[in-house]
Symmetry: C2
Subunit: 395 residues, 2 copies
C-alpha cells in the first residue's frame, strides 16, 4: 500500500523502535530509576525561565491575529532581525534579516536547503560517524549520499579521503559541529583545510559546492572551546540551526537557515529556500515559538549540568576500562566497544539495564553512543552497572 521509497524506511525503522520499546519494557519491569537509558538525545535540562516569561508576555499582550497568524514564509521580520543581530554580535558576521529563514527545526531546515539545491543523482558528502537521517533527507530529493570513513584517532573529518571523493557531481557537504555522536568540535585548522579543499575543487570542476553546517549543538561547548562560525571560512556555507538543544525545545520544532550574501546566487537561493519551506508543507515555522526565540537570543540552558554529567561519566567509564575521546561539545560520549561487534556489547549492557546505541547506527561500527542528557543520579547510579558489565570483558 505504501510507496516504494517508503518501504526501506519502514523496514529500518523497526530496529530503532525496538530499542525504544525495550527501554519501556525494562523501565516497567525494574522501575525507571533502575534503568540507565543513554539512548536518546532528548534534553533533560529544562528550558531557561526566559522561555516561559516570553510565552506568558506574548500570549497576554500581543494581538492574537498577529501572534498566531501567517507571516512571510521566511518568518517574522523582527525575529529574524533579532537573531541576525545576535549572530553578528557574537561571531562578527554581517547578516541581515533577509539572510535568515525560520524553519521547523534544523531537520526541516536541512530538507529545505537540500530541496533548494540538489538535483536527482547529485552527490552530498557526509563524514562518518554521522546522523543516519541525513541519508533520508538526501534521498528525499533523489540525491546520492557519499560517506567519508571515520578517522577514529581524533574523529576530526578525514580530509584526505574527502578530497578524493569530491566529484563534478558533488553538490553539497554536510558537517555537524559540535558533533553527534562523538562530541568532537571541529577545530579551526580542520575548517580552514576543508575550506581550501572545497575552494580548489570548485575551481577544478567549475562547480558550486555548498557546505551545509548542521549546528543544533553550537551552544553546547565545554572547557571554553571555540566553535568556529563556518560562514567566515568558506563563502558557500549555509548554516542550519535549531533551538532544540540550546533552549531545550526539541518538540517545538524551531530553528533557522542562514544563507549569507556571499553564497553564490544568494538572492535566488534565499527566494527558492523560502518557497521550499512553504511547499514542503511547513509553510512557515510555528509563529508563537518564533516570537519566543526572538526574545531569547541571549538565554542559555544550564550547561553546568551537562558538563558535570560529561565529566562524571567520562571519568567513571575510563575507570571501568572503557576508551573514549573526551568530548568538548554536545551531550554524547562515543565509546570504543571492548569487542569488535558493538551490537553484542549493547546487548550485554541490557543485562545490566544499560541502554546504548550501536555505532552502526551512525555508520561507525565498533563504538557505542551514550547520550548523557539524563539526570546526574542516572550517571552516578549507572557506574556500578558499567563496572559489572566490564567484568565480563576481563576488567
Amino acid at each position: 500500500m505504501i510507496s516504494e521509497k517508503m518501504k526501506p524506511l519502514v523496514q529500518n525503522n523497526s530496529a530503532i523502535r525496538e530499542m525504544f520499546e525495550e527501554g519501556g519494557r525494562l523501565k516497567a519491569k525494574y522501575g525507571a530509576d533502575k534503568v540507565f537509558d543513554f539512548s536518546l538525545g532528548n534534553p533533560n535540562v529544562p528550558a531557561p525561565k526566559q522561555v516561559k516569561e516570553a510565552v506568558i508576555d506574548l500570549i497576554t499582550n500581543e494581538d492574537p491575529v498577529v501572534l498566531h497568524g501567517y507571516m512571510s514564509n521566511a518568518g517574522f521580520e523582527d525575529v529574524r532581525q533579532s537573531i541576525a543581530e545576535s549572530l553578528n554580535r557574537r561571531f562578527g558576521t554581517s547578516f541581515q534579516a533577509k539572510n535568515l529563514i525560520m524553519t521547523v527545526g534544523a531537520a526541516s531546515g536541512l530538507n529545505v536547503i537540500l530541496k533548494t539545491v540538489v538535483n536527482p543523482g547529485e552527490e552530498v558528502i557526509v563524514f562518518a560517524p554521522y546522523f543516519l537521517e541525513y541519508g533520508s533527507y538526501v534521498r528525499n530529493y533523489d540525491g546520492k549520499l557519499v560517506e567519508i570513513s571515520p578517522d577514529t584517532s581524533t574523529f576530526q573529518p578525514n580530509l584526505e579521503e574527502f578530497e578524493k571523493k569530491i566529484t563534478a557531481k558533488t553538490r553539497a557537504v554536510i558537517v555537524n559541529t559540535p558533533h553527534n555522536p562523538t562530541g568532537v568540535v571541529y577545530s579551526e585548522e580542520t575548517i580552514k583545510k576543508m575550506a581550501a579543499v572545497l575552494e580548489a575543487k570548485q575551481k577544478e570542476f567549475q562547480s558550486v559546492i555548498y557546505l551545509i553546517s548542521d549546528e543544533p549543538y553550537r551552544e553546547l561547548a565545554y572547557d571554553g572551546v571555540e566553535v568556529p562560525y563556518l560562514t567566515k571560512y568558506y563563502d558557500n556555507t549555509v548554516v542550519g540551526y535549531s533551538y532544540s538543544k540550546s533552549l531545550s525545545l526539541p518538540g517545538e520544532r524551531i530553528g533557522y537557515l542562514v544563507i549569507p550574501d556571499e553564497v553564490d546566487g544568494s538572492e535566488e537561493v534565499i527566494t527558492a529556500a523560502s518557497i521550499a519551506n512553504r511547499i514542503n508543507g511547513s509553510v512557515n515555522a510555528p509563529s508563537l515559538i518564533q516570537k519566543v526565540v526572538g526574545r531569547c537570543v541571549d538565554a542559555k540552558v544550564n550547561l553546568d549540568y551537562y558538563d558535570r554529567n560529561r565529566t562524571t561519566l567520562y571519568e567513571g567509564l575510563k575507570e571501568c576500562g572503557l576508551e573514549c575521546i573526551k568530548p568538548q561539545g554536545a551531550f554524547y560520549l562515543f565509546v570504543k566497544s571492548p569487542v569488535e561487534d558493538e551490537k553484542a556489547f549493547c546487548q550485554a549492557g541490557k543485562k545490566y539495564n544499560i541502554l546504548m546505541v550501536p555505532g552502526s547506527s551512525f555508520a561507525c561500527p565498533g563504538y557505542v553512543r551514550l547520550a548523557y542528557c539524563v539526570s546526574y543520579e542516572t550517571i552516578v547510579n549507572s557506574l556500578p552497572a558499567f563496572r559489572e558489565l566490564m567484568k565480563e570483558y576481563g576488567n
Copy 2:
C-alpha cells in the same frame, strides 16, 4: 544555483508576490482602511479565549521537559486520544489515538500522506477550481496532477469527467470541502456518488485509490449545513485537518491526519506516515500547541462574524450586478467576472483599491476569489467602490 525542480516554482511565485507588494504599496499610499484587500485567507477573527487560557495553564503547570520535549513522531498520545474522542462524538466514527498523526498544519499533512502512498508517475486527481499548491505537493513526490474541469453551475465536482479520468495509475484524489475558493460544501449525494465511482474503479483496476479529504474549513459552515465526514462513505479515505481556520491559528502550523482502520493496509500506512512525518523534516508537530489544541477540541471561533461578512458581501455584490453562488462554508466568494478575462477585471478593481485573486490562480479562469475574512468595516466600505467598478461594465 538552484535545483531544476525549484526553478518553475521561483518563476511562478513572483506573480503572487507582486500582488502582495501591490497591496502594500496601495495601503502605504491611501491608508490601510481605504484599501479593500480580499486577497488573503488569513483569519481576522482572533483565536478563541480557550487557546490563551490553555497556553498559560500549560506553560505554568506542565513540566517543561515534557511540554517542549520530543514525543512519538505521531504526536502526544493524550492529544490524539482527545481529538479522536471528539471526532467520534461528533461524527459517529470510532477512531483511536493510533489513527491520528499530528502534523505541521494540513499542508504538511497532505505532503506526509502523498509521500507515504504516491510513487513517481502515479496520478493524483483534483477538481478545478482548486488550491494550486496541491500541484506542488504532488510534484514533490514526482506524482502527476490530473485536473477535472469545473462544473460552474454548482461547483460540485464534475463526476462524469472524474469517472473517465481515473486510470490504473490513479493513486489518490484530493477533495476540499467546505471548498476554497468557492465556499461550496460537497453534498452527501455528491460524496456517495463519488464513493461509488471510486469503489467501481478500484475493482476495475484492482487498485487502491486513496480519497484525501483536505478539511481546514470543516468548522466554517453556515445556515446549519451538514459537512459529511468522508471516512463514513468510502473506506480508503484519509482526512487532513488543520486548526488554521477553526481556531484561527494559521501561523502555528498545527493539524492532523486521520488514517482509519478501514483503509487498505492501514497499519503499514500509519507506520509509514509517521516516518514520513519525521524524515520530511517535521519530526513531529510543535509540542506546546499540540497540547493546546488537545484542550480546545470544543472551542470555536466567532462564526457569526464571518457569517455577517458573507451575507453583507454577497448581497452587496449582487446589488452591484455581480453573479456568485452563495457559499455555505469557508470564507470565500467565487464571483463570476463581468468579462471573460478576469485578470483584466482584477486589474480594473485595483483602480478602486479592491484586491481580488484571479480564478486562473485556482485553475478556473473567468472568476475571481474574494476572501471575506476581513473586518466588517472593510466589507461595508468596499461596496461603494464595487458599485463604481461595476459602472465600468455598464451596471
